[in-house]
Symmetry: C2
Subunit: 354 residues, 2 copies
């Protein structure tokens, strides 16, 4: 924070702008001049002050990513993918977590946590439509995940209903008939709605009743929640022959309880999860899971948010700005998924690769 363009200019005996031109690799600088300036730069150990550059350019090169929690490996893995996708565009990621709490999500959406960013990628759990309607924050916002909002913001997700149906279909194809769903959230505003719906639809398509007694509610979506929901179901005297869980953590928690109760996976109960986290690939029983294309989600999210800031590259820029950008209608981008079948439904004998 000490040596500035001015110092370099003084030393090299040129104007500030010339030094700036050299630093920015401006085309029309004679090699001789470039060398002379570069020498002054090296001698003084000049480093550009990014803060000043950002003030001048009106961009910071930072996007924020706000996730419910990093403890869930799905989000940790997604964060890694976003960091990489952002790096592709020379962007850096500011990370925040909301705990999935509406209050905190609201704060983040309004930029009260991070106010130095060009754009925001938010993965909400409890945020309500009305929370976002009053949003005045000028930085572009892109939403991630299962929840749909009828608002002018880009949204990126996989087809949750189709993915859930594929998982349930797989369980039914194995001959299972009592398929439980673990991880709904009845009292709240149903973030798990789409996956429950997929479960319901696929059962209906198979001519089976969607037994609401087989829906296990949870408070959160961690191991503990899955374990509790599974225990509750069993304690209620239910004995499903298959479980489709809201996510992998819930599934793993459930498997733990099944094993404690002496039930074998998959012989007695087949289990399928959602997210395809690494953790599911190395348990005693590897976990069948819906695998969202995280890299695609990350890429879409970053490109989406960056495409929205074409408007005002610099403070004094022309009002119109580049053609692309912030005036496009909101988009619903759908990333792909696949169902990875592992031991928790197939059994160990026919174990495929990891």
């Amino acid at each position: 924070m000490r040596v500035s363009l001015k110092d370099v200019a003084l030393r090299a005996g040129v104007s500030i702008k010339t030094v700036s031109n050299v630093v920015n690799n401006y085309q029309h600088v004679t090699p001789a001049m470039r060398a002379r300036v570069q020498q002054a730069i090296d001698e003084l150990g000049y480093r550009p002050n990014m803060t000043a550059r950002h003030l001048r350019k009106g961009r910071t090169g930072i996007i924020a990513l706000a996730l419910p929690e990093l403890g869930n490996p799905y989000f940790a893995e997604l964060a890694a993918a976003v960091i990489d996708a952002a790096a592709e565009h020379d962007y850096i990621v500011l990370l925040d977590h909301t705990g999935g709490r509406r209050e905190q999500e609201l704060l983040v959406s309004q930029g009260f946590r991070a106010r130095v960013i060009d754009g925001l990628i938010l993965s909400p759990l409890e945020l309500q439509t009305e929370d976002l309607e009053g949003r005045t924050e000028p930085v572009p916002l892109v939403l991630l995940g299962e929840r749909h909002y009828d608002l002018p913001y880009d949204h990126i997700a996989i087809d949750n209903v189709a993915a859930a149906r594929a998982a349930v279909r797989h369980l039914l194809d194995l001959g299972r008939r009592e398929v439980a769903f673990l991880g709904s959230r009845p009292r709240r505003n149903q973030p798990a709605e789409l996956r429950v719906r997929g479960w319901r639809e696929e059962l209906a398509a198979a001519g089976l009743p969607a037994d609401e007694g087989l829906v296990g509610a949870t408070d959160g979506w961690g191991h503990e929640d899955g374990a509790r929901a599974m225990a509750r179901l069993l304690d209620a005297g239910r004995r499903p022959d298959a479980v489709f869980a809201y996510n992998d953590l819930v599934a793993i928690g459930a498997m733990r309880v099944l094993s404690e109760r002496g039930l074998r996976v998959p012989e007695d109960v087949a289990v399928a999860g959602f997210d395809d986290v690494v953790e599911g690939r190395y348990g005693a029983v590897t976990l069948t899971s819906v695998s969202p294309d995280k890299a695609a989600i990350a890429r879409m999210a970053v490109e989406s948010v960056l495409s929205r800031l074409g408007g005002e590259p610099r403070p004094g820029g022309r009002p119109g700005g580049e053609p692309g950008g912030e005036q496009q209608p909101p988009r619903r981008l759908t990333a792909g998924f696949s169902l990875i079948e592992r031991e928790s439904t197939l059994g160990r004998a026919s174990t495929p690769g990891r």
Copy 2:
């Protein structure tokens, strides 16, 4: 990025500085004036431009955290702890990952990835002492993790040797005599050194030979690496009755292989890991593990790095700055740990809580 102090001042009919005073809650502003300015602020929807503020103040309110990889839940959980610790001081965290590659770690340490930060917390794996010796970057750096560098930077870690000894001691107390170590890294520069040393020392203390044939080398420290190392050991005809792994992922990978080979944990082979990641608490066999105090590590790291930037709060500030700060000698801060004993050493019968 549109309405500035100037606009608000114009509207309220006061000077720019007065608006600034209101925004910053300066003491000597009459309530009437404050109300008038506030109204103009609300009417125009003014939001302070943080970039300009930072340029002026010489601080950004951002610290960077660079970790090997987020896919490892230990680092993900640590990141969450750092975000919270930073929030306590009104700081925001810029997250980066290095893949544990020296090249990338060097880049980060020199500030080439993120250049808008007040401080940097780096958890290196392969970085060499000489890489850091030539560091000219002016922002304070704090190092995390097992590796020790004889350099003027704060370092935060748990006592790895003692922790490893505690784990091995536990295995020996159970009557095990052939304790393998999984996760050394022979060809590289031995980041696992301290934990291997702990293993060696504790065996020596028990009067047992440290059988180098029971040290399983790995390339990385993921599940896959643990699985491979375990398989290699077994394929070589070794049959240890206990395994101490460099970290939980290696331990879990090893347990998977043990189970595939028909060996029971802990009856045939007791397993202990390191990091106490959530994942280890919900497998079919819960994992005994050294549990570093992540919250303490995060808190120490944040406070450490922030304490170093007392020097130049603002560009035009007095040269001395506040008394505290950047001239203190480097510190070695040690966080606590505990050994959490679970089924992978105790067996299921006596399962304690999670």
